[in-house]
């Protein structure tokens, strides 16, 4: 500073550690404040009283057994995408290309369904669909990864561009298949149901939910307990450290992004093969972006992503129900979601930092200079994200 100002009364200090209960309390506090604010806004916008609003939200998400199933399926899909993106994020690779990777997966599945659905036996069709969607998803993860590994290309920007290239490829595929008229691919193979993913336990929603459960558990162990998971976490903490201990950084980046992309491709397969049975450029409905926030909100812990996804789906369904009941636009849900996200994002600050009154300064300095082991440092640094 040019001239000496009066000393500030308080300043921010990084927390060294924080107990889980305090952390949870801060997060829940933020969510509660956000929900109260949402209730106030809803009351003002619709004229309903908060209790009615609450029940309308519950009705939108859990009002009938069909609504419960759809809520569960949507939660599962959001959860799956969040999980798919997580390994890359733990590596501090900002893959915001989930949208594109899902679309490519969906494109692969739709391509096989439309071209081979009726000429090959159904087992082969499904196998081809799985292979092609996972391959295309993985390819869309591989491109930014290899550029990052070789030339250190900014991955946020490259994955963003790949989203729109994928969107245009799907748009191209659609007009190529339906050159005249509506340019909409209706339900694919509606009569033969070729390439439709099987129903489990008599429910068409079950497959997605089951895959979500399996992948949540396996990804948790992959990231936290496997050698590859350890490698990608070290790369995330510090590339220099990773090189020093003999990890091939470039290969880890490429491998992790192939996994991330392949899992997104799998979601595309589920959307096209099991949920919608059609393909459009907006089949992801922005979930690739929402999932980034889910993964980050949950601190990259797959199990915490379950309630986080559920919260978002619940808010979305509830707000839609509310808005259509009073004749307002359905985007109301996005406004409420945005507000909740702002609060959760802001609350992160109070988890990582504390406000210190001036006289504490000496004490904090001595705390800061403490030496820490590698695992300790890594734990702390990771919390910064």
């Amino acid at each position: 500073m040019k001239k000496k100002k009066h000393e500030k009364l308080f300043h921010m200090v990084k927390r060294d550690d924080i107990s889980t209960s305090v952390r949870v309390a801060i997060k829940l506090g933020a969510i509660v404040i956000a929900l109260v604010l949402c209730a106030v806004i809803t009351t003002v916008a619709t004229g309903y009283n908060p209790v009615e609003v609450f029940f309308s939200f519950i009705d939108g998400a859990f009002g009938s057994s069909r609504k419960i199933w759809i809520t569960m399926q949507d939660t599962a899909i959001l959860l799956l995408i969040s999980i798919a993106l997580t390994p890359a994020f733990r590596m501090r690779f900002w893959n915001i290309g989930g949208e594109g990777q899902i679309l490519m997966g969906g494109l692969g599945a739709a391509f096989v369904m439309m071209n081979f659905g009726e000429s090959l036996p159904s087992g082969v069709v499904m196998l081809l669909m799985i292979v092609s969607s996972i391959f295309l998803g993985a390819l869309w993860g591989f491109i930014p990864a290899i550029c990052k590994a070789k030339w250190n290309t900014n991955e946020t920007l490259s994955t963003l561009m790949l989203n729109y290239i994928a969107t245009q490829l799907v748009a191209f595929f659609i007009v190529y298949k339906v050159p005249s008229g509506s340019a909409v691919i209706g339900i694919i193979n509606q009569k033969t149901r070729a390439g439709w993913m099987p129903e489990l336990f008599g429910s068409k929603y079950m497959l997605t939910i089951l895959i979500a459960v399996i992948l949540t558990i396996s990804l948790y162990f992959y990231v936290n307990n496997s050698k590859q998971g350890y490698e990608l976490r070290v790369v995330g903490e510090s590339e220099k450290t990773a090189q020093y201990v003999g990890i091939k950084v470039g290969w880890v980046i490429v491998r992790t992004m192939i996994i991330s992309g392949a899992l997104c491709g799998l979601v595309g397969l589920l959307l096209v093969g099991s949920k919608d049975h059609t393909i459009t450029t907006t089949i992801t409905r922005g979930l690739g972006f929402t999932a980034i926030m889910v993964s980050w909100m949950a601190k990259f812990n797959p199990f915490i992503m379950i309630p986080a996804s559920l919260l978002i789906v619940f808010m979305n369904k509830g707000a839609n129900n509310m808005a259509s009941a009073v004749g307002l636009n359905e985007s109301f849900g996005e406004i409420l979601l945005g507000i909740i996200l702002f609060f959760i994002i802001g609350s992160e600050f109070f988890v990582n930092y504390k406000i210190a009154i001036k006289k504490d300064r000496k004490k904090n300095n001595s705390e800061k200079s403490e030496n820490k082991g590698l695992t300790d440092v890594s734990k702390n640094k990771y919390e910064k994200y």
Binding site: M1, K2, M12, V13, K14, A45, W94, I96, C147, K150, W151, N152, T153, N154, T156, L157, S158, L160, M161, L162, N163, Y164, I165, T167, Q168, A171, F172, V175, Y176, P179, A183, G286, F289, T290, I292, M293, W296, A323, G327, L328, N329, E330, S331, F332, G333, E334, I335, L337, G338, I339, L341, F342, I345, G346, E348, F349, N352, Y353, K368, Y385
Partner: protein, 327 residues
Amino acid sequence: MVGIIAFIQGAIGQGIPLLYGCTGEILSEKSGNLNLGIPGIMYVGAMSGVIGSFVYENSVAGELNPFLAVAIPILCSLLGSMIMGLIYGFLTITLRANQNVTGLAMTTFGVGFGNFFGGSLIKLVDAQVSSISLSRTSSFFTKTLPFSGKLGWFGDVFLSYGFLAYVGIILAIVVAVVLKKSRVGLHIRAVGESPTTADAAGINVTKYKYFSTVLGCMIAGLGGLYYIMDYIKGVWSNDGFGDRGWLAIALVIFTIWRPAVGIIASFFFGGLYILYIHFPMGMVMNEIVKMIPYVVTLVVLIITSMRNKRENQPPASLGLNYFREER
């Protein structure tokens, strides 16, 4: 000849919103803030202006006051995008939240804001109209320079736009000069390259980050306003603005963080966006042509990182937050 002139006019008209978004985003990124909320902020900028002029139009029965008809939407738009910028700045600069996540949340919120009011404004203010059509206010925005019709093709190509188009071009030049030549620009760039060094040199990092991020958001918001008030003549349709905000971010990379280059580049992108309207080549080719801006941007991004020239790189601390006590 007539076809080509119409195409150039269309390309520039399409390019101006991108130019605003690009200028704003460059200003923000130069200070180290990768603002992925720009698409949402442009929606908010557009919608705030629409709300302002909608309320004004519906409260005045007779002739509109030309000054108010222009000033109210602009001020509302600036206010809306300024609030968005302050939210983003507070979360990322003061609270040091992750910029990508914050930006995406801004986009979710902003697009939702635009579409919600787009679909509900009439009901909310109990107006007696069937759709949001602001032709009366819009006519002040679309007014061309008085002598544009008399100068043949020169007038059509260079003078036939509403005043916001020229403001956009001037802003891009001003931002380019300020960033490159002035002390303020030097400080902004220093903060974006290395906040630690800037801080040590006595530059107030927080102040400059706030300044350029919020100002960048306000400039971007005007892009939304131009689109709605001038380009499509005041008729709001939900999701009508489309993915132009993302295209503006692509443009930032395409121009390698140079606002003045953005002027030409935005017209180029705008031209690609509407090429299929003026030169019909079949639906299939259209979708391929629409892909070109993104492919070209990706290629530029990869090539600049391959060549690794220092002056062509993103600001070194782009996307990272600064906390003084963490060295």
